[in-house]
Symmetry: D2
Subunit: 378 residues, 4 copies
Amino acid sequence: MNTFGNIFKLTSFGESHGAAIGGVVDGCPAGISFDKDFIQNELSRRRPGQSELTTPREEKDSVEFLSGLYEGKTTGAPIGFIIRNENQHSADYDDMKDIFRPSHADYTYQMKYGIRDPRGGGRSSARETIARCVGGAIAKLALKEYPVIIQAFTSQVGDIWLQGDYRDYDLKLAESNAIRCPDMQTASEMEALIKEMKSRGDTIGGVITCVIQGVPPGVGEPVFGKLHAALGSAMLSINAAKGFDYGDGFEAPLYTGSEHNDAFMPNRNLKKNDAKFRKNRPITTRTNYSGGIQGGISNGQDIYFRVAFKSVATLLREQYTVDIHGNVTLLHAKGRHDPCVLPRAVPIVEAMAAMTLFDYMLLAGIRAPFNTPCLSPM
Amino acid sequence: MNTFGNIFKLTSFGESHGAAIGGVVDGCPAGISFDKDFIQNELSRRRPGQSELTTPREEKDSVEFLSGLYEGKTTGAPIGFIIRNENQHSADYDDMKDIFRPSHADYTYQMKYGIRDPRGGGRSSARETIARCVGGAIAKLALKEYPVIIQAFTSQVGDIWLQGDYRDYDLKLAESNAIRCPDMQTASEMEALIKEMKSRGDTIGGVITCVIQGVPPGVGEPVFGKLHAALGSAMLSINAAKGFDYGDGFEAPLYTGSEHNDAFMPNRNLKKNDAKFRKNRPITTRTNYSGGIQGGISNGQDIYFRVAFKSVATLLREQYTVDIHGNVTLLHAKGRHDPCVLPRAVPIVEAMAAMTLFDYMLLAGIRAPFNTPCLSPM
Amino acid sequence: MNTFGNIFKLTSFGESHGAAIGGVVDGCPAGISFDKDFIQNELSRRRPGQSELTTPREEKDSVEFLSGLYEGKTTGAPIGFIIRNENQHSADYDDMKDIFRPSHADYTYQMKYGIRDPRGGGRSSARETIARCVGGAIAKLALKEYPVIIQAFTSQVGDIWLQGDYRDYDLKLAESNAIRCPDMQTASEMEALIKEMKSRGDTIGGVITCVIQGVPPGVGEPVFGKLHAALGSAMLSINAAKGFDYGDGFEAPLYTGSEHNDAFMPNRNLKKNDAKFRKNRPITTRTNYSGGIQGGISNGQDIYFRVAFKSVATLLREQYTVDIHGNVTLLHAKGRHDPCVLPRAVPIVEAMAAMTLFDYMLLAGIRAPFNTPCLSPM
Amino acid sequence: MNTFGNIFKLTSFGESHGAAIGGVVDGCPAGISFDKDFIQNELSRRRPGQSELTTPREEKDSVEFLSGLYEGKTTGAPIGFIIRNENQHSADYDDMKDIFRPSHADYTYQMKYGIRDPRGGGRSSARETIARCVGGAIAKLALKEYPVIIQAFTSQVGDIWLQGDYRDYDLKLAESNAIRCPDMQTASEMEALIKEMKSRGDTIGGVITCVIQGVPPGVGEPVFGKLHAALGSAMLSINAAKGFDYGDGFEAPLYTGSEHNDAFMPNRNLKKNDAKFRKNRPITTRTNYSGGIQGGISNGQDIYFRVAFKSVATLLREQYTVDIHGNVTLLHAKGRHDPCVLPRAVPIVEAMAAMTLFDYMLLAGIRAPFNTPCLSPM
């Protein structure tokens, strides 16, 4: 259950305070130019210590690749990689060895395994998502060739919403501020709220929206393997995720069928910004409440979805809880913790989306223009 | 991709207007008393023609079991079953052979496969969910032994919400009305809305809430196999599903960590209705915003989640669309269709929840008190 | 564990004396012309009652397809099928309900499941292989298009061997006699031996050799998914199989590396019968001790392998055994049984080979010239 | 396809001359005491340079564990590990970059991937089996607790056979000589043959026999997941393996059913050496031609099987071959190579057997006496 994917697969390992986080990407096609700088940069996007909004822990998170590459290209062999853990303050957890922290996985791991590594949450730590970012970055390298573009951003923090629709914004601006919200004004309001939470030793949650452009029609599997079910499972597997919807999602019930259906129409009046992704297709839809997926299969329109995240469970204030013997005790969290996961979760959402999409494109048999094997008679 | 589950697995087959819907349940433990009446009754709960609110199609949906049973018990061998299709009006679809119905899967199947069965939506029809109800009913038979109880109900239709919390209602009342809402007053408002939609040839969506009680702590897999990720994938695979959240879900971002954390406490003051499920556990939580799952693993509290459904895409009014050649055409839907899927989706949500839970309990190695194999020295 | 394959998958169900044997083929590409007569004929090849050498049971074994087809072609949806059991004499097994037959699976099923269907061996009966023959016939329909040709034959019965090499015979002659051996003289010796065994109420085993021609280079997966490992697992899963080897197999140890290596050479002097399969390839090998597979991946030469089968465990003479209570008892087998499985196992070996090969060609991304989906921009 | 197993799973990575060989063991139960010395010792058994019979390459093959352990025990989290490659002479392969070595995987990898790492065979090198030995050693640690004992030995080299039956020898003696044959006289004959081959720059193959004792009845899955099919697939996935049989295997056809059936009998006259493994079972068999498996499921008797290995393809003499352009060329192998893989393959056979057995015991739900999770109400 530490493996993700069907053809393009990531197997991850590692604990927060163990020797290393690492993984194996299996099923990656041969011939992809392997841009290590791009991958390292994706890791740096989720790294702590990027701004005041995130934990002051400094983790270099430098990835070492151990296999699967030859002369700068993927060979089709599994790509093993590790990121050494450094700068871990395991002593911060000495007092918590026998305590169940509220809304963490301490109690459930103890009940499942009868043993657990208490240092930094062990395997349940969000530090595990580093491996996902490596896998996602490799998938992104491949998706660039089609091209399929994935862009996530923070659309809600606490009760502060980004107004309107993703089409109203230049999503690339999301990377220009610490909160990763494409509207500067909203971003600064979100920042203010997070700083307030931090000053109170409290935490806050939010919502990330993700948009995927360039997926051709026909990607997705019927029945149990619907594309949105795979995306949903991928997103809900991220630490602190509480919900997932796509297209108009939880708002869909408010619209009647006649309001909500996406009418097909000939692709005559292509809007300019559509030209890149849908220029050669004779059919398009007037609206896109479906979120680019019908019957679990992509229809060539933009795919978009939301992921809800709860507030961080570790508070820098006292909380009552119980210990492993059932006794009430007072918990004083030490350590360096995020007041809000949203900014750092944006690249993780993108990574999981990239792995899911690339895996599904391979399942659908869609070939990219990289150096494909010569399987026809030589 | 027509197989669901890891150990307890359902493989389904069949099209809306083909010879039969059917499936194979593999991995079901031996020794379960096989109550065919219970299973047939579960099928009847999703059957069309139950009330004015649903399609007037009459489908008997009688299931025949072909294998895996001996003297009234499961043997551990795969359970094959079929439900013959009857009373299909395939001629209703003659006009639609070359037309892409809006917000249906016609276009995406055509793009994926280059061929499709247009009669009643073929494989993409919700008639496929009959097989899920059979699989779910078998899982429910097994879960009864622990006991684990699963109860879903309609909590929203259009803009009509069931107020408050599931704990405020007697959920068994949901089966006492056609809409499957546990509050009679709300149910009648929902019914009125659906009837209005039907009279206008329009349709409406809604939300189903599901509550699972009796799951012991320790069920769920870390990282990619989190229990809520599996439930999310299962629910999003249901036709017309648009979103999934668990616990306080999309409301979680509105609460700070200090408001939202579920404090652990000794299990001294057990409320009476808890006694059944949690009587022997020394630790419980004061609140349950987590929805019974922490770090992807059950903590012994109630598991609850919501599933959003869009309005039915088939309207009994004219819609413009395009045909397979890209020409604009006017679509006149014939046939007998639901104005709202919610009432019939309630047993499907339960079925998918039952299969997911039972599969995960087997993954966790939890044994039920049915006739288990004598694997110790004979 | 009742599912076979990675992309092209067969899930089978059914017991010897249950209502039906059946299965689901999932992952079959869309657009294959579905020749039902060919499939039924493949079933008839494994049917009992074909000659004096096989059991006199008459089983029509008529297959009904329930889904996955539209206007004579596969649609990409799962293909469900059933074969009703008829002419079962379950009463023959009444005395054996509590008895463990020697070298059958009665005891091991009882120990694994704590319950078993004793009629005709239940799930462990070779009658289950009907479903494999259906799956294999569908795979053969697809493989014909490349073309890939699979031909198995009986190469040993008891101590009677077919002399020499498969290249010395016209393999199509195997279908011209009851024993399915391509040499008439050897076939008649084998028949005489089987008839002698039958007259004594005894049974005998043998070896089946299988040759696969037309597989292009590059089919197979490295490390754990080697093509010969997949073929081996497929063959060893057939009832009564005791061994598998490929190329020079168990004779390989007798040759030194310098004798055994298959030298590469330019493909200049193509032998006539090679032209069909290897005409466009610039490289071939001088010998083929490798059996067409190097490092787990096909090299374009003929793939060939052997499967050893033990003698049938059911004897028409008395045997001592024990019952479920551990008491010694005398077993009098009733029923109609094969004195030798070899003739009927030939089509089963071919079926498993066909499913394995087609699955691996899909894994390798090799496209056939049937109606493939239009996944490029429409 | 670089993952092995169903519940206890090994994912391996690494090339012969890359940075490291490594892997991830997922699904290992929590609470196993992790004896690192035992694991390192298992690695040393397959290490080159152990005697004159093997390659003089010196590889320390020291394993570093990166995760999944806490205070000397497994935690249930995935166990990541790496073995750094050292002492690689990649320059030995400079001349061979564009040459296809006979009976190696150079040509097939090139055809499959369109790119390959030519240094030491890249991913197709037997150096990959280090990861299998680590996974197998972990499985052995767990199996010891039941106890299940696995012992392999060299039973044939070239035309020199170990006479008689495994029961005639003290199998522990296999570790006392370089060839790993339990009979000293036969071992010295085998050694002489290998040395002769080495002096001629030639190579030789052989057969390894493996015996598994202590498996309780009921382990194995019916139909496609038969225990011997899983063992066969595991063994055939080892580099240079050409065949697999179990019980009397390819000799089975020579015996009639009445000679070959394993009669059940009450377990009254227990032989002394059986007492350890079968003392509490009321039923046993008189003979064991079945090799401990009936219908794909263990019957409690010894499981034994054979694996045939071809001679090493790399010769230290000249061979003609072709290059990537189809031109004939003369190949002069450099490097340090084994004249016979058998001695070093013995621990690999054991490792694959251990992983397969432990995986199947977990599939069968058999619990070991290590610290199991407290899944009952706490």
